[in-house]
């Protein structure tokens, strides 16, 4: 009986016969530019500029070797990983109690505060260039990993609060009440019971904070010069007197995609939720 219903439902949801074909055609088109960049990264530069060919005639790992031996390249890659990790952890720690407050209590000005947070996620980063440049210099955070991590909290803290609040509100408040009756204090309940319940939310939040910090260029470039220079800024400087080093540029591009490509499998069901600020 139940199986019959499922079968009917499945038939009712049947798609147009060519819909799948169209979808996979799109998926293939979407991969083309990515594959092209990968192909460029494993060719010698003279082949890239010399003659146009679909399949690389000679393959080389020279570009990758250059990337991992030239300190300008690999250290800026490390810089990006360091400040994005710091930012993700800091944003999460700051956002957890606040998200809990928003999802569990009403308090004076809660709605205004929640909206105000959103306005920071929606603020054009270009607006903050000048003040960041000056303030971070005057307090000694200019060109430090900590400085970039703090600057990126501008948009990641609101994001983390909104995503976590979305997840937390899906957990019934009866659990909090039962724990209180059992004699749990709020911090103990939060760490022992609540946090394990929302661990997938914590993972998703960390991932999105890491990602939005990883993809940002404008602010990170403005408040760094050498010591904390992000990989994205190094990539904008591949132009030299000899022209653009396309092979190396493509190599850096491929390598910066890897962190996202590795974790994407684990967050595939949450991507929509993360981008929609926890609202889907």
């Amino acid at each position: 009986m139940a199986g019959e219903q499922v079968a009917v439902a499945r038939r009712a949801r049947r798609q147009l016969p060519w819909a799948r074909a169209v979808f996979w055609l799109y998926a293939a088109t979407l991969m083309l530019p990515l594959l092209w960049m990968f192909g460029m990264s494993i060719r010698p530069n003279e082949d890239i500029l010399g003659s146009f060919s679909l399949i690389p005639q000679r393959t080389t790992l020279d570009n990758y070797r250059t990337f991992f031996t030239d300190p300008v390249w690999y250290s800026s890659y490390l810089n990006s990983i360091i400040y994005t990790s710091m930012n993700a952890v800091m944003s999460l720690i700051v956002a957890l109690p606040a998200a809990y407050a928003f999802s569990r209590f009403r308090f004076a000005g809660d709605k205004h505060l929640f909206f105000w947070l959103l306005t920071n996620r929606m603020a054009p980063p270009a607006v903050f260039l000048l003040p960041f440049f000056q303030i971070y210099q005057s307090v000694g955070l200019f060109d430090t990993h900590l400085g970039v991590a703090i600057a990126h909290m501008l948009f990641n803290v609101p994001l983390a609060v909104w995503i976590l609040e979305g997840f937390m509100s899906g957990i019934p408040r009866e659990i909090d009440e039962t724990a209180a009756i059992d004699g749990y204090s709020l911090p103990r309940f939060f760490l022992r019971i609540f946090l394990p319940m929302i661990r997938s939310a914590v993972g998703v939040t960390l991932f999105f904070c890491f990602m939005f910090s990883w993809v940002e260029l404008l602010i990170a470039r403005t408040i760094t010069s050498v010591n904390a220079k992000p990989i994205a800024a190094t990539m904008t400087r591949t132009v030299s007197a000899a022209g653009v080093d396309w092979g190396l540029l493509a190599t850096a591009g491929v390598l910066t995609i890897i962190p996202g490509a590795i974790v994407i499998w684990f967050v595939r069901n949450y991507v929509a939720k993360g981008f929609a600020l926890g609202r889907v």
Partner: protein, 319 residues
């Protein structure tokens, strides 16, 4: 208590795809009950307020400070009132960039929303291919924005890029985004479609998945065509997620900086110089503190107004 506007955990079309624990349609969920009032919750929010104060409020105050002064050097500055706001709002270059950015956002929405919905409808729903489809579609969203620029900078080039080479040599159309304004605009637009249509598709897909089976059974019994099923069952149920998609895409395309900066640098000429690109040129390039401050505040204001609309719509959609 009906004013629970801040606790929307999902749009009306629910969130089965994202949280297994999400309440099923029809069952009363936690949002319906009343949250206790407790002003001590402010202590929990305090860290967020402090951190955002440092990253947002103090910098904004600095911008306000810039915007009302003419600054020759740190010690030599005069108060000019609203002079900068007047000159910035009349500046033809800034006005042109504003119109250009609006036009870009409009085109982005017109292309990405229908394409994203079509993709979501065509995506596999069951079986082993679902995960593969999700991963491939989501991939562009996780690529650093400057790398998205790099990818298209290479791909669209007439000499070394597959896309640009094909247009020039197979289709026989003269295409060069570094020289021709229209080609540059098209490149940036297609890049944005490539980059962000997946977001619309994933949101719409989440919405479609949450439509209960009986809707489709009823449509089948009535003998509805595929188009009628889409038009009268699927599309109306997508209203919530599409509102989010439209507003997110508007905001982010209106603030776009990195991708066009990498591909075209705003050129050729001013062809792709959007508001953010122009602002960062005035602020960091020319270091014109006063005009940049006034420009920033006006830009910020426009975005704030739209995000207020965004917030209102979001909280309504949650009910």
């Amino acid at each position: 208590m009906t004013e629970q506007s801040v606790t929307v955990a999902g749009s009306p079309v629910g969130g089965e795809i994202v949280t297994a624990a999400a309440p099923q349609d029809g069952t009363p969920d936690t949002r319906a009950s009343v949250k206790p009032k407790n002003n001590r919750a402010w202590f929990l929010v305090l860290p967020v307020v402090v951190s955002v104060a440092f990253t947002a409020v103090i910098p904004l105050m600095t911008v306000v400070n810039f915007s009302v002064q003419d600054i020759f050097s740190p010690d030599d500055r005069i108060f000019v009132g609203l002079e900068w706001f007047r000159s910035v709002s009349r500046d033809p270059e800034i006005r042109a960039a504003f119109v250009r950015t609006l036009l870009f956002s409009a085109q982005v929405l017109l292309l990405e929303i229908p394409l994203g919905v079509a993709l979501a409808v065509a995506m596999p729903r069951r079986g082993i291919w679902v995960s593969a489809a999700l991963v491939i579609v989501a991939l562009p969203l996780l690529i650093p924005w400057n790398v998205v620029g790099t990818i298209w900078q290479i791909f669209a080039r007439a000499d070394i890029g597959l896309g640009g080479w094909t247009i020039n040599n197979v289709l026989g159309i003269d295409f060069n985004y570094t020289l021709d304004s229209t080609d540059a605009w098209i490149t940036v637009l297609i890049m944005d479609v490539w980059h962000w249509t997946p977001l619309v598709a994933l949101l719409a897909y989440a919405g479609l998945r949450s439509i209960p089976d009986p809707y489709f059974q009823a449509a089948q019994i009535d003998g509805a065509s595929a188009w009628a099923t889409f038009r009268h069952i699927q599309l109306p149920r997508l209203r919530g997620v599409l509102t989010i998609a439209i507003l997110l895409r508007f905001m982010d395309s209106f603030m776009i900086y990195t991708e066009p900066f990498v591909v075209t640098g705003g050129g050729p000429g001013n062809a792709t110089s959007f508001l953010s690109i122009l602002l960062s040129k005035i602020a960091v390039g020319q270091f014109d503190l006063g005009p940049a401050g006034a420009f920033s505040l006006l830009y910020f204001l426009v975005v704030q107004i739209v995000s207020y609309v965004f917030f209102t719509v979001l909280t309504r959609a949650g009910r």
